[in-house]
Amino acid sequence: MALQDQTLPLPGITPHRTESYRSDHLLVAEMVSPGSKVLDVGCGEGDLLQLLEGRGIDGRGIELSREGVNRCVAKGLAVVQGDADTDLVNYPDDAFDYVILSQTLQATRQPKTVLENLLRIGRRGIVSFPNFGFWKMRLQLLIGGHMPRTENLPATWYDTPNIHFCTIKDFVQLCDEISVKMERAVALDSFGRPLRLNLPWWVWNMFGEQGVFLLSRAGKGR
């Protein structure tokens, strides 16, 4: 039967190929301390989870699309079908060490509520998102007069799942508003390289194509 001939993509069998992992995934994985328990919200086809599990991290995932979920499960990952906007409420407080929102925040209906839930379920949160303040975005709107489209965000305005774009500056403001502490912030340029640390926010907001933030609950001051 065909069954016996089937070969399945399995974790562990996947060759180690750091260069093929997304740069933001590598950065996120580096922020997670070994041996911790992680929830990846909007885990897609499980690339980040596989990267994390390869590092001995207990990873779980939520994904909206059925195809994405089934591919993850077929890779042996612990992923459930669910919606960040509606299903995070089902998780108890402090269930995870880290809750990751990788390129997902801008696709949620209630980014603020999602972010609040993130830091309720997880002791820390890691959020990465495309920076709408990136100079190429600004230029397209200013000169081209049309909604920006980039290599990483190729969808047109009418079919994009990304309904809540923000800039790095906007995100920092939201974190302040809901008293979230930023433990670490990194802006990646269009080559996926981190921008220099000592640059002012406005430079990051202009030249960072995406922002990656390690967050924790406030209380320790900022």
Binding site: M1, A2, L3, Q4, Q6, L8, L10, P11, G12, D58, R60, R66, V69, N70, C72, V73, A74, K75, G76, L77, A78, V79, V80, Q81, G82, D87, N90, Y91, P92, A95
Partner: protein, 397 residues
């Protein structure tokens, strides 16, 4: 042909069927007076027996055992020729060498449930007190009772921890009961197309089936064996109704549409003009050849009573608190008997317990029965789940 209303009734397999009840073509575990089965209804069932099949070999550290829990009208003959019907095992596509449940890697056990009619003690078995079949004197059994008996079987076999418990439909209910009652004995669990409680609609369908059996004059208040009859008409109708719930509108339409059976034009009678009628009648008549009517009453009842949350103050998540078992929950898009929403409720409860859970909904138009059919995505997921759990368990290929 295939007429469940024929008066003579099917006798083809009747002898084999009644023989299997007490003398199964399976391995047999006997539990004497010193080891009664404590039933939820308060009765101690003793003596009793469990008939079971095994496939593959138990490894040295006894860590590769998989328990398959069978559905309502199936039995322990998962991957061998059925002793009554002569047909292949019901899950040969899933269980075998190189299959997702690989008999070369795992030791697979499938017991017939308590209340069944293929060798484990049930209403068709001989009541030692009377020398006659139990009939309705058999105590009501529940899903937890079935699982309790299976745990006794595993004790007998010297298996402390199961690598995986898996099953669909009523089998999935047993899987969930296993994880709720014996979490430390279950390393991983694969509940398929099931629910943590039987819905009102499903209880209603079961009641329809039971009333069909009981309305058959050949039922004789469950004493048909002594009357030399079997309520095959009632059971056949019950099966026909139930079978519809295992399929879907789309699957029936694709398979049969409004096509005629061996004729061009309607006969303007109540013959089975339509292929779908002929098919259902066949399902009914072939079922009664291999299944006991009283068993059908008892097993449907067991499913009706199933409600894990009710045993935990109505809070499902409490049933799974702190559980270490790895779960993979599977549902099918066109299953309206155990719809995805039921699986999702289970997944929410497992998430609330911080359990390690995967949940896949498989797209298919084949309804509830999809778990028994050749659905490749389901096989892929089952295989991958077992392989990744095996890695965590330290089972080597």
């Amino acid at each position: 042909m295939m007429n469940v209303h024929s008066r003579s009734g099917p006798a083809i397999h009747a002898d084999e069927r009644s023989h299997e009840v007490d003398h199964p073509s399976s391995q047999l575990a006997l539990f004497g007076a010193d080891q009664p089965l404590r039933l939820d209804c308060g009765v101690d069932l003793s003596p009793f027996q469990i008939a079971y099949q095994t496939y593959g070999a138990l490894n040295a550290d006894r860590s590769n055992a998989i328990l398959i829990c069978h559905a309502l009208t199936l039995d322990q003959h998962v991957a061998n020729v059925h002793p009554v019907t002569g047909k292949p095992g019901w899950w040969e596509t899933m269980v075998g060498p190189g299959r997702p449940i690989d008999t070369e890697r795992y030791f697979i056990i499938c017991p017939n449930v308590i209340g069944g009619c293929m060798g484990s003690t049930g209403p068709a078995s001989i009541n030692p007190a009377t020398g006659k079949p139990w009939g309705l004197d058999f105590p009501i059994v529940t899903i937890p009772d079935m699982v309790r008996a299976q745990a006794m079987l595993l004790d007998r076999l010297g298996i402390e921890t199961l690598f995986c418990v898996l099953g669909g439909s009523m089998g999935g209910m047993q899987v969930l009961q296993w994880t709720a009652a014996y979490p430390e004995r279950v390393f991983s669990a694969l509940p398929i197309a099931c629910s943590t409680r039987h819905s009102a609609q499903n209880i209603a369908f079961h009641e329809l089936g039971r009333q069909a059996v009981m309305a058959d004059p050949d039922w004789h208040q469950g004493r048909y064996a002594e009357h030399g009859t079997h309520p095959h008409r009632g059971l056949g109708v019950a099966r026909m109704a139930a079978h519809i719930t295992y399929l879907s509108d789309a699957a029936l339409h694709r398979k049969f549409g409004r096509r005629m059976q061996d004729r061009e034009l309607p006969t303007f009678s109540f013959d089975a003009d339509f292929q779908v009628e002929s098919y259902l009648r066949y399902q009914g008549s072939s079922f009664v050849e291999r299944f006991d009517s009283n068993s059908y009453l008892y097993l449907t009842r067991a499913m009706d009573y199933f409600d894990i949350a009710a045993d935990h103050n109505g809070v499902l998540a409490k049933a799974f608190r702190g559980i270490k078992t790895r779960f993979c929950v599977v549902s099918f898009t066109s299953d309206w008997l155990f719809p995805t929403s039921e699986s999702r409720a289970l997944v929410h409860a497992l998430n609330a317990s911080s359990a390690r859970v995967s949940f896949a909904e498989i797209e298919t138009d084949r309804g509830h029965d999809a778990f028994l059919l050749d659905v490749s995505e389901f096989f892929d997921i089952s295989r991958a789940f077992l392989q990744s759990a095996g890695k965590a368990r330290g089972l080597d290929g």
